[in-house]
């Protein structure tokens, strides 16, 4: 985006001239884009021990204590090690501009430059709905069109709802540590506007030992609620999982589920729905995953939340005009995906027969959140596109992409009927190395499956039955089916078929800790062993598909959406939202 030019020059200078190997690290990092009025922790990590009298911190040449109205605290020996750090929690800059922060230990000096930006004083949009298809890649989108729209005379018979949006950009997803991101780091970029590292939520990745001690940046929930908006997050993963957690969490480690439940509670986020109930139950309750005896379901109820465990309870709660806060937990693990929920009835559908899908969750959430006349921010995640791509289960991933599009359609309809003042964003957090390469045609001659793969003109068109009203064909095991392949994989058996008996489990560790192909598929007719091309041992040994570093697509509509164009950093999405909702008003510093 346009606003990054000046800091870029500063960064190049910093990198070329003032960065000895032993230089201190300053968080937020160089070239950070900071929303005016938002809170953040400023941390300086010195490479060695520093005397309090020698440590100096300035902002644009002025003493930092004067600028921030409070003094940074010196941690003499951080985590008992021979290193000192300065920390200033809850810093805030309300005046937009370029800020150069300089830290010195008396010998070495290091500077970073931040761009603090304000937003228009008046909001362009009343509401924002941010859709995240987790792991949602181009091939998923193409396949979703193929199954739910079909073709005639070489053209699609219809478009996806997400195709009918006027603004589009390519987002790059890399973080501060790697070209490849995970869902935590990626969602964090959307909900804070800052870059971070794999596994981190709402924090910069510092050297702190404890996962909750890292320098924090504010989340969209904190900022939007301060502006009086209602906030929600709905998903079909566990609610503590990275994407929904990014709305509220501050932790270096996304697996801190018990802490994340507390963070949801403390954030006062208005609507949360998904799976993952065990981390809400006190440890004395069988099935709990908590390590304490706090009953978070009771806590939420006590704080005025309606509570639902089924679709029926959700709809009843949402229909009640007095409901303004809603917690919905529909599964102990992830909510089942669309293919299982609606057609195959596998997964945990028999255990949890009345789970809502993402579309139903979203409709209920909008009903509740729109009772706030000031507006709302809602994150809607179709989480299992990613999970089914990890498990190399194309049909399940495609059905959850169709479900995502159904939710987008419902949101567009709602926005149109309710004042056309809602910005809708549809994106992914990262991609998977998936591609559509043709079809598998059971009618092709011979027994071996690879020679039934149709490429180029032999691919033709798949013969799924016409979709139902929601865009789903009622059958995936058709005789000519789409062939989606994975570019990176562990050892596994390629069956060339959908997994009708339950989600695919491609690889399993053996006694030596090496990933081997899951023998459960060995005897499927035509199954072929694929020797993997991913690491198969050690802590990063892969027993499933992995993320790729390709760009993701962002499509947008509604007031403020015209800022979406060209190539953008994923963290720029936050600014689009902040500007549309006027979350950083220049002359009106936030209250409280």
């Amino acid at each position: 985006m346009r606003f990054a030019l000046a800091p870029l020059a500063a960064a190049l200078c910093a990198a070329a001239f003032t960065l000895p190997a032993t230089a201190q690290t300053i968080f937020p990092l160089n070239r950070a884009e900071i929303l005016a009025g938002s809170h953040f922790d400023l941390k300086v990590e010195f490479p060695g021990l520093v005397d309090a009298s020698a440590a100096k911190l300035s902002v644009n040449g002025k003493d930092a204590a004067t600028v921030f109205g409070k003094r940074a605290e010196l941690i003499a020996r951080e985590d008992g090690k021979d290193v000192s750090s300065l920390i200033l929690r809850g810093a805030r800059i309300t005046k937009p501009g370029s800020y150069t922060v300089t830290a010195s230990d008396g010998t070495n000096t290091r500077s970073v430059t931040w761009n603090v930006y304000a937003t228009p004083a008046k909001a362009a949009a009343k509401n924002v709905i941010l859709f995240i298809g987790d792991g949602f890649s181009i091939a998923h989108r193409t396949a979703a069109r193929m199954l739910s729209k079909g073709y005639e005379d070489g053209k699609l018979k219809g478009k996806l709802a997400m195709d009918e949006m006027p603004y589009m950009a390519l987002l790059t997803t890399q973080g501060t540590d790697s070209i490849i991101t995970d869902s935590a780091n990626a969602a964090h970029a959307y909900t804070t506007g800052h870059k971070s590292c794999v596994n981190a939520l709402g924090v910069y990745c510092s050297r702190a030992a404890a996962s909750l001690d890292h320098p924090k940046v504010e989340t969209l929930t904190e900022i939007a609620k301060r502006s009086g908006l209602s906030v929600g997050a709905v998903t079909n993963s566990e609610v503590e999982d990275a994407t929904p957690a990014s709305m509220v969490a501050h932790t270096r480690r996304r697996s801190d589920y018990n802490d994340i439940v507390k963070m949801f509670y403390d954030s006062k986020i208005d609507v949360i729905m998904g799976g993952g109930s065990p981390n809400f139950l006190p440890k004395s309750t069988p099935g709990s995953k908590r390590t304490d005896d706090v009953d978070y379901i009771e806590q939420f109820k006590g704080a005025g939340y309606a509570f639902a465990t089924t679709k029926a309870e959700m709809n009843t709660a949402a229909a009640d005009s007095k409901t303004t806060k809603l917690l919905g937990l529909y599964n102990t693990g992830n909510v089942d995906g669309a293919l299982d929920l609606k057609f195959l009835k596998k997964g945990s559908v028999s255990k949890f027969p009345d789970q809502p899908d993402v579309v139903e969750e979203m409709k209920a959430a909008i009903k509740v959140l729109s009772r706030n006349k000031k507006g709302f921010v809602l994150m809607v995640e179709s989480a299992r596109i990613d999970k089914y791509s990890h498990s190399m289960d194309p049909e399940r991933a495609i059905y959850d992409t169709i479900m995502l599009d159904d939710a987008v359609k419902a949101a567009q309809d709602w926005a149109k009927a309710n004042g056309n003042n809602t910005m809708i964003l549809v994106t992914a957090d990262h991609t998977h190395p998936v591609s559509i390469i043709g079809t598998v045609n059971d009618e092709a001659p011979g027994d071996d499956m690879r020679n039934k793969v149709g490429t180029y003109e032999d691919a033709g068109f798949p013969n799924y039955p016409a979709p139902d009203a929601d865009g789903y064909p009622n059958k995936v095991d058709v005789s000519r089916r789409v062939r989606m392949v994975f570019g990176a994989y562990p050892d596994y058996y390629d069956t060339f078929r959908p997994y009708l008996d339950g989600e695919n489990v491609p690889g399993i560790k053996n006694a030596e800790g090496i990933t081997v192909a899951n023998e459960a598929y060995k005897n499927v007719p035509g199954a072929v062993l694929r020797v993997g091309n991913l690491p198969n041992k050690g802590p990063r040994g892969a027993n499933q598909g992995i993320h790729s570093g390709d760009d993701v697509l962002l499509t947008a509509m509604g007031p403020g959406a015209n800022k979406v164009h060209g190539q953008m950093e994923n963290s720029d999405l936050f600014r689009v939202v902040a500007e549309a909702l006027a979350l950083g008003k220049p002359m009106a510093p936030a209250k409280k």
Binding site: A242, S255, S284, G287
Partner: protein, 155 residues
């Protein structure tokens, strides 16, 4: 590959291998303990928690058997492992998703565990312990444990 002979399962396999007559004598005794199933451990499994089956509660402290799959160990050189109904494909501590099934059973073997093939079904035998417990070494929370356990591969 199959390592149970060197671990908690060693005593019984030694006995089994000793003489046929001893096996005939020993089998009824060894198999006197009740064989539980994952399905039978709880009478209900809801969003609001599990409820132990009456039989599970009645067998508290007694020797029981249970069949399942060893999950990849959380710690090497440990007597501790997690038994699951189905093979666990994802090592929860290797990825960042702490996604254990809720109906796992924690096993404290009588000896240090050498892992089995994680796709091989095993039978565990030991004293059933019921109620919430946090493993001091790993922080792992469990509701059911089998202590002083031995295990062996089954077909």
């Amino acid at each position: 590959m199959f390592a149970a002979t060197q671990t908690g399962g060693s005593r019984r396999r030694f006995l089994l291998g000793l003489t046929a007559s001893l096996v005939l004598l020993a089998s009824p005794l060894l198999h006197a303990s009740e064989l539980l199933t994952f399905d039978g451990l709880y009478k209900s499994n809801t969003v609001l928690g599990l409820k132990f089956a009456d039989r599970t509660l009645a067998l508290k402290g007694q020797t029981v058997r249970l069949r399942g799959y060893m999950a990849p160990p959380l710690k090497p050189e440990s007597k501790f492992f997690v038994l699951t109904r189905e093979p666990v494909a994802i090592c929860p501590f290797c990825s960042s998703d702490a996604e254990w099934p809720v109906d796992i059973v924690v096993i404290y073997a009588s000896k240090t565990v050498l892992p089995t093939n994680f796709s091989e079904r095993i039978e565990v035998e030991g004293a059933l312990e019921v109620g919430s417990f946090i493993d001091p070494a790993t922080g792992f929370v469990s509701q059911l444990r089998i202590r002083d356990a031995v295990f062996h591969k089954i077909n």
